[in-house]
Amino acid sequence: MKLTVRELRFSYKANEVLRGLNLQIAPDSMTCLVGPNGSGKSTLLRCLDRILRPTQGTVMVGDDDLRKLPLKELARRISYVPQNCSHNFPLTVFEVVMMGRKPHLNFKVRPMDRDVVNHALEILGLAGYKRRYFDELSGGEKQKVFLARALAQEAPIMLLDEPTSNLDIHFQLEVLELLRRLKKLKNLAVVIAIHDLNLAARYADSLLMLNQGRIIAQGPPYQVLTGENIERVYKVKAQVHHNGYGQVQIWPLHPTAQATGPTSSL
């Protein structure tokens, strides 16, 4: 399912966070949103899942206007994995992943729902965790449980806010490898807000660089992650290495000036 964004604007009171974004996200693609803190990455994700209501512009989910989709239908089309998520009361891994079936069920859990959940747990290598308590898992395992939940939701579009930010390098790679596999397997349109430019460069099919609510550059990683773009957006001098196969690696050297935060820029 395609996601099309036209002239999207969003303001928190007088503070305009998104300033007219246009983008398109295709199935079987992994798009990484990069940009400094406060550039609007998380806000964009939230607008795409209607957690926030855009002040202007349209978002088309498939052929339908985001604003007009019933909540349940929206949940069948878009899954969202937030940055921080904990549960107040201890639920088991199975119960947490079963939540992903919510858009498809009312009270009764059908055998089919169990199958979908078991399948999702298996794909993510969590089959042995079913009856473990979610709050006893490590950060990386929790993140995988969230992926399983999003997968159980069976939505063609998956949005993730900083899925690797609290993980060690093993889980960072594991989570992104899994996402890449899921994308292929289920023909998903995956959108990830991410800080780590090297991870983004390595896994993204296309990058979207945001700064102060505007798209600075979009396209394949080697086009977006240039020395000039990085210096302009992050105020950081960086070396960019091309490996000759279309892949790039960033080596940040030093900050060039005081970084402009989200508020000082307004």
Binding site: Y80, P82, C85, P90, E95, K102, P103, F107, Y133
Partner: protein
Amino acid sequence: MSDLAAHPEGLAPTAVSKVWIMLGLGVSLVLLVLVASSVGTSEVGPKTVAMCLLGLIQPEWSPPPDLAKVVFDLRLPRVFLALVAGMGLAMSGVAVQGVLMNPLVSPFILGVAPGAAFGAALAMVLGVDLVGFGHYLVVGNAFVTATLAMFLAYGIAQVRRSSRETIILAGIAVGYIFSALVSILKYISTVDTLHNLVFWLMGSLWGASFQSVLFIAPLLLACLVALLWLSWDLNIMSAGDEVANSLGVRVKLVRVSVLLLSTLTTAAVISFTGVIGFVGLVSPHMARMMVGADHRWLFPAACLVGALLLLGADTLGRVVLWPVEVPVGITTALIGGPFFIYLLWRRNRDWWQ
């Protein structure tokens, strides 16, 4: 409770063991009902009670009418009121804790307890009748003012964006206001009415009748069905509003309806019984320790635990200082408190954060 130890470390009970736990609770409750309706001041024992119950099917087995009268007019109404009250408070406790994501709140969170107390005090001290229920003057008043407190607290929270914390704080504020009003009425009341009022505030089941059960039971049942229907939403809401929203849960609608439905049930219960605290706060935790935090299991389990706790406490209160009766509000805390502390010691994990 022995099932708790049987779980392998770090693993949740399976559905099968949850069913066994529920069965165990159910059987204990049936036994307790029989015990509770057999003990008391007159010499109506288990045999008479059994005869009464059998007499419903086979009239010739009925005991003499004067003994049957004790069972049907005194014992059973009280037992059933304890059941519905315990269930109602425990169920509301689960609902309110779930929807406000807070393990410390009780179903009284919207100020219903002081609200109900104010209505009761108005009736007792000033003889004010808010609804014209006549015989049920205190009950009617308590229910009206408890509901008023509930809407007031929720309304105040609603004026600003109704975050969970705002709702809790608004409830506390409204509760304090009504408590102050109750204190005024206590201050100006005579010694006799003060005594009655204090007794009512402790909570007791001695005024039980089948009418009170018939008033609470439908509300309880409707509320329970609605809550069970919403149990997935409640599970999901423990992950926070954003996640719930993205999984298709109408967070605000669920929160309002669950909060108001369960508080209304609580108001109905405490209008008849007086303020019985503790059951609504602690039964959800006890149930959670037994069957986990999935609301589909938690609601029925908490209902059973609440009923057991309240009926057990009331029965003990009737016999422990015989012939003097100890109000159930006192015995629930005296029995439930140590038992809860015992569970806290024994648990192998944290059940809330």
